[in-house]
């Protein structure tokens, strides 16, 4: 029907062109005739002029007369075409339903506006064309050339406008056709792609002895996704619990390790100070022990000295006893001297005055003898006292008991030596103990260090959970969109959800690949754990 309308427009255009050409030819002939007559004065110019004057209205009358039926038919065709166009526009407008305010479809809106404007424009053109055709018909009947010219001038731009509008319409229609063709092709491709999956799904459902209707399946799928989301929420919660627990325990572990390390260091400090104190005490003890050893040696020498002294005293007793004989000798000498003095005094008395001096001497000798005897007695008493004293001190039993005590005292040296040896052993024991504790403490520090390094796994696990949560969140959003699309598109999906889900998987795998893990880090192509640039 568009082609018919197009032909009708082309036909009207041809009429206009014929009128224009015939008028042009007539005008040209008139000009030639007048010019010829002016310059030549020949009658032939009159003939030409007359012929040309006759040709123009005749040709117009002839053509329009013969084409009036066609114009009428053309007018009818325009009317019919106009109605059909209106119908088409309404169909197109109905096809592109009015878009919702939230989701405007710009193409449908533009086409609707354009088709309405085009329809209005065509209606106006059609009315104008009809009016002009009627005027043309009247003008032809009345042979009004001037009016015909005006009508022709009006018709030509009108027909051109109409032609341009139709071209635009055809362009739009072609675009719509192309779009629809692409959509149909996409739909076909999608159907072809989904067909095996649908068949597979149908077979599987049939194998389960039930073939639910699509809306039922969709509803179930929706419910499955809802349950899946609820499950994920619970898993999220557990992830958070895991994060919280591992975090708290890691902090508690680090705190305990820190405390353990401090206590171990305190213990080492205490032992170090103890060793220093013991060493200092040991130095003092060495001095004390040396002093005690000297005393021991002194005590040890005492019995020998005592024995020597006893022997000396015993010798002195003997000497004293020997001195008793000397006292006796002195007494003997004193007695003899006394007798001698008495005899001398007698002899002096016999000598008379001559013997007076000698008598004095004899008296003095007698006094000397008495004094000597007295001194001898005193010496004898003193020696006796000394002898008694020494003999009292050298009583054997008493000395024997003392010697035993002294011998025991001499054993102190051995005890002190044993004490010194024990002290050295104790010192060595402390040194060994300190060395062992120090070594164990270093091992403890190393173990604490490694245990603290193990706490880093908490951070690794936390980050891994974060990546899992992020990926699950993306997956759930996609699933929700998928269900929404399934519900709204009645099975005709506009997005490739498989590709999007694959993208979620690929992103997750790539992200995990960027982070080391204990299973992959030992492989040959794994990057080194430590690297200095």
């Amino acid at each position: 029907m568009f082609n018919k309308f197009k032909n009708a427009i082309g036909y009207a255009s041809k009429i206009g062109r014929i009128l224009l050409i015939s008028n042009g030819i007539a005008l040209a002939l008139i000009i030639v005739a007048v010019t010829f007559a002016f310059y030549t004065g020949d009658y032939a110019s009159v003939v030409f002029l007359g012929l040309s004057s006759a040709i123009m209205p005749i040709s117009q009358w002839f053509l329009l007369k013969h084409k009036s039926a066609s114009i009428t038919k053309f007018e009818q065709k325009i009317e019919i075409t106009h109605e059909k166009l209106n119908h088409i526009f309404n169909c197109i407008a109905a096809h592109f339903e009015s878009p919702t305010p939230d989701d405007p479809n710009s193409l449908a809106k533009d086409v609707e506006v354009f088709t309405r404007e085009l329809s209005e424009s065509l209606t106006q053109c059609s009315v104008t064309l009809t009016n002009q055709m009627q005027a043309l018909s009247i003008a032809l009947d009345n042979q009004e050339n001037e009016r015909l010219q005006k009508i022709q001038d009006t018709l030509l731009p009108l027909i051109k406008t109409l032609s341009d509008a139709m071209k635009s319409y055809f362009n739009v229609r072609d675009k719509i056709d192309d779009t629809l063709r692409i959509q149909v092709a996409d739909a076909k491709e999608m159907i072809e792609r989904l067909e095996p999956e649908v068949l597979d799904l149908s077979n599987r459902l049939a194998s389960m002895h039930e073939l639910p209707l699509f809306p039922v399946s969709l509803r179930q799928l929706d419910q499955v996704v809802e349950v899946n989301l609820e499950l994920d929420q619970n898993i999220y919660s557990q992830f958070e619990v895991i994060e919280h627990d591992t975090n708290q325990n890691a902090i508690a572990l680090v705190t305990s390790m820190e405390s353990l390390s401090i206590n171990a260091n305190n213990l080492v400090d205490f032992i170090t100070k103890t060793i220093q104190t013991v060493t200092k005490m040991n130095t003092n003890s060495d001095t004390d022990v040396a002093f005690i050893v000297d005393i021991g040696h002194f005590i040890k020498d005492i019995p020998e000295k005592i024995r020597s002294d006893i022997e000396t005293l015993q010798k002195a007793t003997h000497v004293i006893s020997d001195l008793g004989y000397l006292v006796d000798s002195i007494k003997e000498i004193s007695f003899q001297t006394d007798i001698l003095a008495v005899n001398a005094a007698i002899q002096a008395a016999h000598a008379g005055d001559a013997g007076l001096g000698f008598k004095i001497v004899a008296d003095e000798v007698r006094k000397l003898a008495v004094n000597s005897n007295h001194a001898a007695e005193m010496i004898e008493t003193g020696l006796e006292n000394a002898r008694k004293t020494i003999q009292e001190g050298l009583k054997f039993k008493a000395l024997e008991g003392l010697m035993e005590e002294i011998d025991k005292a001499a054993n102190v040296v051995d005890s002190v030596k044993n004490l010194e040896q024990n002290h050295e052993d104790m010192q060595q024991y402390y040194k060994t103990l300190f060395a062992v504790i120090n070594k164990n403490n270093q091992q403890l520090a190393s173990d604490i260090s490694e245990i603290l390094s193990g706490v880093q796994y908490q951070d690794i696990v936390r980050q891994r959970i974060e990546r899992m949560k992020s990926t699950m969140s993306r997956r759930n959003e996609l699933l929700e969109l998928f269900i929404q699309e399934l519900a709204t598109s009645r099975g005709l999906l506009t997005e490739d959800f498989v590709a999007q889900m694959q993208s979620v998987l690929n992103d997750y795998l790539e992200e995990e690949l960027h982070h080391g893990n204990s299973l992959s880090e030992n492989s040959a192509d794994a990057p080194p754990k430590f690297e200095l640039f």
């Binding site: 820190e258 604490i448 490694e450 603290l452 390094s453 706490v455 880093q456 960027h514 982070h515 690297e531």
Partner: protein
């Protein structure tokens, strides 16, 4: 005198464990939870002998922190080690280009960490 190390990590457990580990071994430790706070400490006068930083952190990551630290006066040759879960070569290259001294992938054992620190901090 004890060497000072600045630890930068958004994980409290990481900060605590590495801090305790290094303090046991005689180092003085300063900590920051992200690149912004670390940078604030450095511009406020802290002059550590070594910086150990994570890569993925909020506000400012490790790579950006290293780049900014290298522009600060007096930090051109300060050794900077990264301690991260990132292990791919691409990230390592980024770190190297930014000015990192070395790349350590978590978890790092206490003995290994001390050995590497002794390599970048002779005399420690």
């Amino acid at each position: 005198m004890a060497k000072t190390i600045l630890l930068v990590d958004d994980s409290v457990t990481m900060l605590m464990s590495v801090k305790t580990n290094l303090e046991i071994n005689g180092f003085k430790i300063e900590t920051a939870e992200d690149g912004v706070k670390a940078l604030a400490k450095l511009t406020s006068g802290l002059k550590p002998d070594l910086i150990i930083t994570d890569i993925n952190m909020p506000n400012m990551g490790g790579i950006e922190l290293i780049k900014k630290v290298r522009t600060l006066p007096g930090f051109r040759f300060t050794p900077i080690l990264t301690l991260t879960t990132e292990s791919q070569q691409g990230k390592r290259d980024e770190g190297k280009a930014a000015g990192a001294t070395g790349w350590l992938v978590k978890p790092v054992g206490g003995a290994d960490l001390l050995k590497i620190i002794k390599q970048v901090l002779p005399g420690s």
